[in-house]
Each structure stands twice: as C-alpha cells, then as structure tokens.
Symmetry: C2
C-alpha cells in the first residue's frame, strides 16, 4: 500500500550530470505512473530501479522539450523489448505528431497500441482513473498551455464497525457488499445506512505535481489539503521579476502556495541550472513553509498511510 | 596537435546506465566534431568535459533513433545558452523535418543558423573540409541508408630540408611559401620543386567510424591503412546468423575488417544490451586482431603523431 514519488530529474531547461530534465514516477501499490519524460528518462528509471515496462500511463505537462524529449526513446525501447501492453499518453495537442513522425522516419514497428489523449489546459478535468488512482489536471500559468496533475488515491474497502457486528450477523457475501459501501437490510427488514455501520480504513492520500507555472492562487481550491505538493521553484526569491517574466516561480512563492493550500509537505524542483548549490533555495522555502525538501534526482518520497 | 576520440555511448539500441546510445567526439587541435547523437549525448559531453559549445559540425550516420534522439535536446540547450555560431548537421534526408517540427511545436527560438546537409548513402563523398580535417562518407551495409565517416587530418606545413638551406638563403616570405608547398626560384633563375627541398612534418592521421553495418569488404579501399578504426560489433561470433539478419557485425567480423584494412588499431562498439560482461567480446576480437580495445563510455583514445 505504498504511495511513493521517485524523482528522475530536477533541473529546468538545461540538464547536467546529476540533475536531469523533468520526470517523476508516482507509484501506488507497485503500479508506476510516469509524469513528464525529459531526455534520459529511460536511463534514470533504470538507475532508480523502476520497473518501467509496468508503466501504462504517461502524463506530459506541456510541450517544452525538457518535459518530453525522452518519450520517443522510451517508446523505441518498449518496441525493442517487444512490449505488447497498450501505452496511454496524456499530453497537449501536438505531441502525437512529433512521435508519429519519428516512428515512421526511423522505420520503427510499434509492437503495442499507443494511444494519445489530448489535455485541455484551460480547465481542471478528470483525465484518468483505474481501480486505485484518480488523476485530474490542474491548469498552470505558463508561457504555453500547461497542466499540472493531481493524483488522488481511491478509497479502499471500508471497515465494518464492531458495534454493528455485535447486533447483526451478515453473511460473507453481505460483508463484502457492506465493505464496498452498500447499505444493509436484516431479515426483519431493518435497514442500516453504510456510513452508520462502517468507517474508512485509511484516509485517501494525494499528490499534486505543479510545474511549470508562475505563482497562481487559482490552483489553491484543487490542491487544498494535499499530502505532498511538488511545486516548481526555478529561481530564488531575489529573481522574482525574472520568474514572473518567464512564468516561473520562486522558492518563496512555492512555499506560499504550500502554506495557503495547507499541504502536508512541499517538494521543490525544476531548478535553474544557474544554481550549483541548492541548499539556499531549500532554506529560503523553509523560512515560509518548514516541511519542505529538495526533489533531487534519485530521491524517493513516501506518503505514509494515515488511519482515520 | 592532439587527435582524440571520446566515446560518449557504446550501446546498441537500448541504452542503460554506463552504456549510452551511440555518440562520439572526434577532437583535433582542441576542435571537437560530434559523430552521432543518441539520447543523453549532451549530458555525456558534460561528463567527459567536452566543450560542446565549440562543436560546429555534427555527423549523423543514419536515422535509427539510438543515433540521433539526443540532437533536439542539444539544439535546445544551444538556444538556451544563446549560441550564435552556425551549426552544420550532415545527415540522411528526414532529420531536418523531425528537428523543425520539434522546434516549432516547442516554440523554440533558434538563436543561431542551423544548416542541414543531406548525405548520399550510396557512394563515398567528401562532405566536409576545414583548415585541418577532411571528412568523407563510407557507405555502410545496413537495413536503412547508413554512412560511416572517415576523418583524415590535413597535411601541415612542410619542413624545409637542411641541405637546401645550406645552398640557398630564401627570405622570410619565401620560407613561408615553401613551407606551404610552393616551388622556389633563386635570383639566378634556378627553380627547385617543392618535394625536392621539403618533407612533410608528420604523417597525416586518420580515423574511420563504421556503424551500423553488416560485414562488408566493400569499405576496405576507403579505410585501408587507417590509424584507428571504430567498427561496430553488436554481437559475439556465435550470433553471426542473427547479425546478418539484422545487418550488424560480430566481434570476429569487425576484427577481420581491421586486419584486411591493415588498420593501426581497432575499437569495438555498439554492443547489444544482452551482454553484461564485454570482456569476452574483446577477447574474441583480439584472437583475430590483437590491437583491439572496447570503446566504453568515457574512454578517450589518442592517435599519436608520427614523424616520417
């Protein structure tokens, strides 16, 4: 039941050794989801021990190269490995054309179905759901259409309250139904509503990925109370005018968003290559929001389970 | 006057940590030329301390992704660094379209002139020349149009023979002309031909890059006597049928080409990811051509100067 975020790249724009372009793997119950795919992502996944053949869903925030130049290499590798499982890519319009042109020019034979789902960057949308995770877009404020992503764990089977089991004796099939959220009616015709006789096992966990973006309070309603927030902080706060001009954020702005959203924890990333030492960025953010960390390449962040 | 080859990637098809996709830098007198540009090449250049802003000429052997997927990232980085020097890419038809589409989709502003020169893969051609190097294509035998590259150092100024200087007293300007290859006529009207009064300072050095290719003796006339030969050896020799089927070479085949071409030294590369340990490949090739080495990521091979 682990919910982790593995950082594959933390640099903005220009990658360098140890600080690759944007990419992360969100993993829930051993199922990995890839978020952005900068150049070298497939190598970074191998370094981090990600079972990348298990990735079926890739979310691309926007079409600046440092967020997708690694996708074609990953797709090629999947073909060479003989992948057959479908791959779904959620991305702004335009990416399919780039991938298709490279597939045809390189005479690559696709060994698996490849689907692209265009993202509408202007409004929040639920774009993906499986049996354990729900993914919605978060509109960012950037130079080109850009979406962040909100990952919300689905609620698990509910626990049945002991008080109820002291009174009634549901069958095995009935217990399964109650855990799944159904009401219960006993042989005498008395009905118990589900919330009355159950409680959730664990609080649903959530992760918000917010990059690339200028400071924008418009995202607060969507990310309020999120357990873990990744917010870009390309610059230190003395570079706020430059950040605004380029539609990026500063350390302090990222921390202010985390604070206003009452996030559980903040990860800083998408660092300008101008900063060799990232410690000052961390300290600046922590002065506003103490529970902050640097999302460095290779780091794995865990969102622990919390019982109600 | 150093002539070196820096290996940035030695794996075929699928890169992995420590064994990236094909790319090399040929450097002569501190001037770097890039040959192939697999995913991650820009990172590999930084790791190897290549001054990659100095690269003005890039040679792409063929349009399989493991030989060019890193080009768009490198071009983007050049733009972000504000490069203004022209960049020349020598590549098969089709690459310009891929790069152009990504430049336009990512709203990248090219800060420098970007030129593409198409390569005719069917016949050897001189495609590039500057004041110190001449580059010709070597037609390979592969599934898609592919060219190897022959780098030949241009001859330097010639040394004037002492015997001549004991007889005649040319002026400073005349000495410069003789060194550059001109004949000399003294005040009495006697003419000395240049070869009679000079000799070359050093033997011209050469490097041949041969990948991807099946075993082909057709290339021998072009690479005969080359100082250093890089020849792909995707497979060990027991996989010769597979190598032939995929238009690749084995260790023994690479060594046979080196032997028949009377090359000075052989580098093996483009290894199948199936081989964790490359030592057996090296030993197999050395049994045919002893002066063989593995072209591993990060290795630098020097072609020493040789006086006549």
């Amino acid at each position: 039941m682990k919910f982790t975020i593995t950082i594959l790249g933390c640099n903005s724009a220009i990658p360098k050794p140890g600080r690759n372009s944007s990419a992360q793997v969100v993993t829930l119950n051993s199922k990995p989801y890839l978020v952005d795919c900068g150049e070298g992502t497939q190598i970074q996944m191998r370094k981090s021990g990600i079972r990348f053949q298990k990735i079926d869903h890739i979310f691309i925030s926007h079409l600046h190269g440092d967020h997708f130049f690694g996708l074609i290499g990953l797709i090629s590798t999947y073909c060479l490995l003989g992948r057959t499982n479908p791959l779904h890519v959620y991305a702004p319009d335009g990416l399919r054309e780039i991938i298709d042109l490279q597939i045809s020019t390189t005479s690559t034979e696709l060994t698996f179905p490849l689907y692209f789902s265009p993202i509408d960057p202007d409004r929040p949308e639920k774009i993906f759901s499986d049996d354990q995770m729900l993914v919605s877009t978060i509109p960012m404020l950037h130079r080109i259409p850009t979406s962040g992503f909100l990952f919300v764990e689905k609620e698990r089977d509910r626990n049945i309250r002991k008080e109820f089991l002291n009174i009634e004796s549901p069958s095995f099939a009935e217990i399964r139904n109650i855990k799944a959220g159904m009401d219960y009616t006993n042989s005498a015709g008395k009905t118990y509503s589900n919330p009355e006789i159950t409680r959730p096992q664990y609080r649903s966990r959530s992760y918000a990925y917010c990059t690339d973006t200028a400071y924008s309070e418009r995202i607060l309603p969507q990310i309020r109370g999120v357990d873990l927030l990744y917010h870009e902080s390309t610059f230190m706060h003395d570079k706020q005018p430059k950040a605004e001009e380029r539609f990026h954020s500063t350390t302090v702005q990222a921390a202010m968003i985390a604070s206003k959203a009452q996030a559980g924890r903040l990860l800083l990333g998408h660092f300008s290559p101008r900063y060799e030492d990232l410690q000052p960025l961390l300290e600046e953010a922590r002065s506003v929001f103490p529970d902050t960390d640097l999302a460095l390449d290779g780091c794995v962040f865990d969102i622990p389970l919390k019982r109600w």
